[in-house]
């Protein structure tokens, strides 16, 4: 809860966190307030540091997937997938991944992306006082978690991507179920529009709040939906396609303005895009094996980056010839967005700090590793 910090002059430091009902995870934001306006903001992270990079050095390559799942627990498949891509690059088997495996990775990634964005929406509603948004978004998220469970056997921390492919094939009724869910979900997105976008009060709270300009976003290394909300049209699935993305048609979602409303709009549009991608991939998926046997040992260095739900996730893996990685470096998009937080927060009112923090979609698991 908020405790008074020291008082220097007439500006006051306020601690928002680490235990706070609205920060979605364990991190601290120290805010320097002059009257109602924020003068300086200093994020303090590291409360959830678990040493994943160090542990990964004593687990076999294939077993690290279990760890990377738990990096961002809201969006597990995308993180394990990024790790598997990096290791495949290291082992040199990137060209050998079968087509079916690549398409299945796309399907599972996009389903996970929708679930992650719905979790963000469910957490963002109560931030601004709209508790109905929590219930509605979680209701829809249940449908996607059911789909993910049918595909992988688990709702979160699924351990689904493997070095060399994916763990298992899709069940027989899966394409039909996906279509039903997506059709239902698109109808519900119209309802969300009326609850959020067309809601005058929501627009009052989010328009013009927490503006991040294009130059600032690119300078501070912000990627993903936060970058696209500032008008920068860069999506790694289009620029640097991996897996089957080169064969699928979609448009990245971009909004102008750079405020919280733009970030909201980008994520809603991304949910639509992801659903369309899932259906398209399920139509185009070729028959065949979905996994290739990867070697145990690897040597060298390699890196791979993917478009995670929150931005650019980059894995840099070094091997020294044994069956364990020598070094796994994880680049978390939220870690970099956090360095831009002072720039975003300055000049806004104290009552908007929670709204801005919620709109950045902070996942502490991947930030603190």
């Amino acid at each position: 809860m908020a405790q008074a910090g020291e008082q220097h002059g007439d500006a006051m430091w306020i601690n928002m966190g680490p235990q706070h009902p609205m920060t979605h995870g364990l991190w601290n934001l120290r805010v320097r307030v002059d009257g109602e306006t924020v003068v300086e903001a200093l994020p303090e992270i590291g409360y959830l540091h678990r040493g994943v990079e160090k542990i990964a050095e004593v687990r076999e390559f294939h077993k690290v997937v279990v760890l990377t799942d738990r990096l961002c627990y809201v969006s597990s498949i995308t993180w394990s997938h990024a790790y598997c891509l990096a290791v495949e690059e290291l082992m040199g088997i990137t060209d050998k991944i079968p087509a079916r495996g690549r398409y299945l990775r796309v399907v599972s990634n996009e389903l996970q992306r929708v679930a992650s964005h719905l979790m963000w929406l469910a957490a963002y509603g109560p931030d601004i006082g709209l508790l109905t948004g929590l219930l509605w978004a979680l209701r829809e998220r249940e449908l996607f978690l059911d789909l993910i469970q049918a595909l992988t056997g688990q709702r979160m921390n699924q351990n689904y991507p493997r070095v060399g492919g994916v763990r298992n094939d899709i069940p027989a009724t899966f394409p039909r179920d996906c279509e039903k869910v997506v059709r239902h979900f698109f109808k519900k997105l119209e309802e969300y529009e009326s609850l959020f976008e067309r809601n005058k009060t929501f627009r009052m709270r989010t328009e013009g709040v927490g503006v991040l300009s294009k130059e600032d976003a690119m300078a501070w290394g912000v990627t993903g939906p936060n970058l696209r909300a500032s008008g920068v049209d860069y999506d790694l699935r289009k620029l640097d396609p991996y897996d089957a993305y080169a064969e699928l048609k979609f448009e990245p979602a971009v909004a102008r303005g750079g405020d919280t409303l733009a970030r909201y709009l980008v994520r809603i549009e991304e949910m639509r895009t992801s659903c369309a991608l899932v259906l398209e991939a399920l139509k185009k998926i070729p028959a065949g094996p979905y996994r290739v046997k990867a070697p145990r040992r690897a040597e060298g260095q390699a890196f791979r980056r993917t478009e995670d739900a929150r931005g650019e996730a980059l894995f840099y893996v070094c091997g020294d010839g044994s069956d364990r990685p020598y070094r796994v470096k994880i680049r978390s998009p939220i870690f970099c967005t956090m360095s831009a937080v002072p720039t975003i927060m300055r000049g806004n009112k104290v009552a908007d700090v929670i709204s801005i923090m919620g709109s950045l979609d902070v996942c502490v698991g991947e930030m603190d590793k």
Binding site: M1, A2, A4, I14, M16, H20, P21, M22, E36, G125, D127, I128, G129, L130, L131, T132, L135, W136, R139, L195, N199, T201, F202, M204, R205, K349, V350, A351, D352, V353, I354
Partner: protein, 445 residues
Amino acid sequence: MSGHLIDLHYYVESVLSFLLGFGRDQLHGIGTASPAPLGGPLYGLGDLLGAEWLLVLLTWLLVVTVMVMWGTAVNLLVMMWIERKFYSRLHDRVGIKIGLPSMGFLATIPLLGGLFKNFVKRPSHLGTGFLQNVADGVKLVQKENLTPKSADAFTFHVAPVLIATSSLLVFAAIPFSEGFAVMRQVDLAGNSTNPLGILFILAAFGLAPIGILIAGWSSNNKYTLIGGMRSAAMLMSYEIPIILCIIAVVILTGSLDPFEIVRQQTVSLGEAVPALSLLPPTSSAPLYIPNWFIFPQIIGFIVFFVAILAEQERIPFDLPEAEAELVEGWLTEYSGMRFGLVFGFKWLRALAGSSLLVILYLGGWTGPAIGTGLSIGQVGVFFPPQELWFMLKVYGVFLVWVWISWTFPRIRIDQILHIGWKKLIPLSLVTILLAIAMRGLGVYA
């Protein structure tokens, strides 16, 4: 035209006078029959029981008690329960939608049981959930009432009392029908009247911000102080549109009497506005448009609606209370039943605000009714009685407020004050001008 069912003063007075008279007669009898040193005092006691002032005093006390019990015990629980059921439906929650139809025995009713079979099979809690609020109350009562060490003890204890009593005080002047009212006199024509009733209601409403400010200040916590000041700023700035809209209605009616205001809303619209003489003229026609003040005062209605919503500190206006930075705002340091009292009386203020809205704009307790031949006392019984119409309208308005509350995010404090000062006050001044124009130009009789 409906008639009232409960004439509070009359019933209480008759019951009490019967009881006191019975007691007096008995005591007189015992007194005359007793031996000398005891007989006189007993007879005197009987005289005391029969005294006029005792009857009046007890009548007033009991009337106030009935009103308070009705306001707090019954309406409070029902309002909290209805709100929970309603917003749970908005949230699409499964468990709370199951209620009465899921009770097991209903499926055993001979003919209608088939209707309930499906409900009973669904796994859910049994029951309606009404006692949840009672359980909450019991829980709060048995909690420890903490007082922060460095808080100003006197004002810390006085503040919730002030807020609670001012919320209850409003009910002294709000009538629920022509008979169910605490402050009520009967004039020569047999109509209820309470001159200056609206003034009393406004004064009682205006006490709450003081209590909130005192609560926020006395907790000796920087953040409750900020919350208390924000809350007081919001409440005081939203009282001005309320008062101005009431002034507009008073200009139209010419009286501060809630009974008179409602009575004037029973005439037909065609009579009140001569230009609309095409409408059915008399109020005894079966279907007519009554002269509810929402029609000439539509702007005032909207302004009053929004301003009373802010007075109740509901979402969208609850930033002083539930701001993420301040845990509960000015309520943070209160625990136990003190917290429960202040928190629960939010719904009581909702009832008061809703009643005020209904009285002023929606025709109060009037509504079509069928007269039955019965009569209690000297008053004929109608169905539906006035109390029922009043409660229906009040709960209807309350449900609209709940709907709004759970659909909108919170508005920031500077936006709240912006709305209050820059948008609502000019609009309410416009309503006053319209009311003056309508009266002055003879458009409105």
